[in-house]
């Protein structure tokens, strides 16, 4: 079993009375591309930051490359690249100066890669950072995180300020960089379609709890929307286990369920005396259904 790149064990984080993360247990293995999905305020940024050691967990442990996050060694830090949600660039410097100042910290800095990305993404390097647009700042922050070829890349809403073309270009670059080597990527995003393309695993956060952790493909096969067409009028609750939401109109009903097993279809059809059809859902619909009701 390969050593986990990222590991959280019963990780909790509270700020005073406010509990932001609750008993999160999750791991990321080398080569995973994990999408962290959750509503605003679900705790995505806090989770990423605690995993990276920016702050101590209130209880539980956070580890990167087997080391405790608050006490990362030089070796571990050299293998990590991070793009925060609010870029941490120094306004007063030019892009060129910021690049120089950052590259100094890393022995494995790849100048060629940095130059290539800068020219592909057309980032103006001789203007002060204060004068760059939010998209250009985001791209610069990405270059700073990718330049030393980290084994673990953590991105917090990395494409929020980019236009669709730039987003697609970034995604391709990301997949190029991670696909060829055994790199691990952990990224949080609102843009579900990007997650669907790039991620092979998802972590879904709801109110600080991890309600799903696993392969994206398995998630899509597990959460389905059942279309029930009864021969008689359907009343009351249909009593389908693991139902997330239920809408009944006369003889038709639409029920979203989690942990669906296709073999249950026949049994359910017989019990309800109806036609049952399982419609697979895209990630966005899955996300909406998982949040329905509560």
């Amino acid at each position: 079993m390969p050593e986990a790149v990222v590991s959280a064990e019963r990780l909790s984080k509270s700020f005073g009375a406010k509990e932001v993360l609750r008993e999160i247990t999750a791991i990321a293995e080398p080569g995973d591309v994990i999408g962290v999905l959750g509503k605003n305020g679900a705790g995505k940024t806090t989770l990423l930051e605690v995993l990276l050691g920016f702050g101590p967990p209130t209880s539980g442990t956070a580890r990167l490359f087997g080391e405790e996050s608050m006490r990362l060694s030089e070796r571990a830090k050299a293998r990590i690249g991070f793009v925060p949600q609010q870029d941490e660039l120094i306004d007063m410097l030019t892009g060129e100066q910021q690049l120089k100042l950052t590259s100094v910290f890393y022995r494995s800095w790849d100048r060629e890669l940095a130059r290539r990305l800068i020219s592909e993404w057309e980032i103006p390097m001789d203007r002060t950072i204060r004068k760059l647009s939010p998209g250009e700042r985001q791209k610069l922050a990405l270059v700073l995180a990718l330049g030393h070829r980290p084994d673990l890349l953590v991105l917090d809403e990395p494409v929020a300020s980019l236009d669709p073309i730039a987003r697609r270009a970034f995604l391709k670059q990301l997949l190029d960089v991670t696909g060829s080597e055994n790199r691990t990527v952990l990224f949080s995003s609102h843009i579900v379609s990007d997650l669907e393309r790039a991620a092979n695993k998802v972590w879904i956060l709801k109110h600080g709890e991890l309600i799903w952790q696993g392969e994206l493909d398995a998630l899509k096969e597990s959460v389905v929307r059942l279309h029930v067409r009864g021969r008689r009028k359907l009343t009351g609750s249909l009593g389908i286990p693991n139902a997330l939401s239920e809408r009944v109109h006369g003889t038709h009903a639409t029920v979203a369920v989690a942990s669906w097993d296709p073999r249950d279809e026949a049994r359910l059809a017989a019990r309800l005396d109806a036609d049952v059809e399982a419609e697979p859902l895209g990630l966005e619909d899955i996300f909406v259904e998982l949040h329905a009701g509560r």
């Binding site: 080569g31 591309v33 697609r168 995604l171 391709k172 997949l175 190029d176 696909g179 060829s180 379609s193 669907e196 393309r197 790039a198 991620a199 092979n200 994206l216 493909d217 899509k220 096969e221 389905v224 279309h227 067409r229 059809e277 419609e279 697979p280 859902l281 895209g282 990630l283 966005e284 619909d285």
Partner: protein, 135 residues
């Protein structure tokens, strides 16, 4: 060659596998044809290469594709009709269910659907010049 929709409820690897199987079964991918590399396909569609590689791997296990060391994967040498009819029918199952569902919503009955199928079949046959089969 392939149409991949990441937003669909069907996982990407499944979509790719279904499409490869169909193209092989219909003869459009002849035995020995090389398939695009994992990296090429992943970059073209901007999807995770692991998804493509998973699809290829499962197809290799099924015997549809053959792995060649150092060279791209190729279609296995088997006759296009080698898969039993029952298996081929099963592959069409999902599409048929969608068709039936849509028809029910439009409140069309079975006769309407069959007539539509026959119409479209004629057009297909005219285009590809294949023999008509009983449905």
């Amino acid at each position: 060659m392939f149409v991949l929709n990441p937003q669909s409820g069907t996982p990407i690897y499944r979509q790719l596998m279904d499409q490869v199987r169909r193209l092989v079964a219909s003869g459009q991918l002849a035995p020995g044809t090389p398939l695009p590399s994992v990296r090429e396909l992943a970059l073209e569609h901007a999807v995770n290469p692991m998804t493509i590689s998973k699809a290829y791997h499962l197809l290799e296990l099924e015997g549809v594709l053959v792995r060649n060391r150092g060279k791209p994967m190729t279609v296995a040498a088997r006759s296009p009709r080698a898969a039993p009819r029952a298996q081929r029918r099963k592959q069409l199952q999902a599409d048929i269910r969608q068709l039936v569902f849509a028809a029910r919503q439009l409140e069309l009955d079975k006769e309407d659907v069959v007539a539509l199928i026959e119409e479209n079949w004629e057009d297909e046959n005219a285009g590809s010049g294949r023999q008509r089969r009983k449905t």
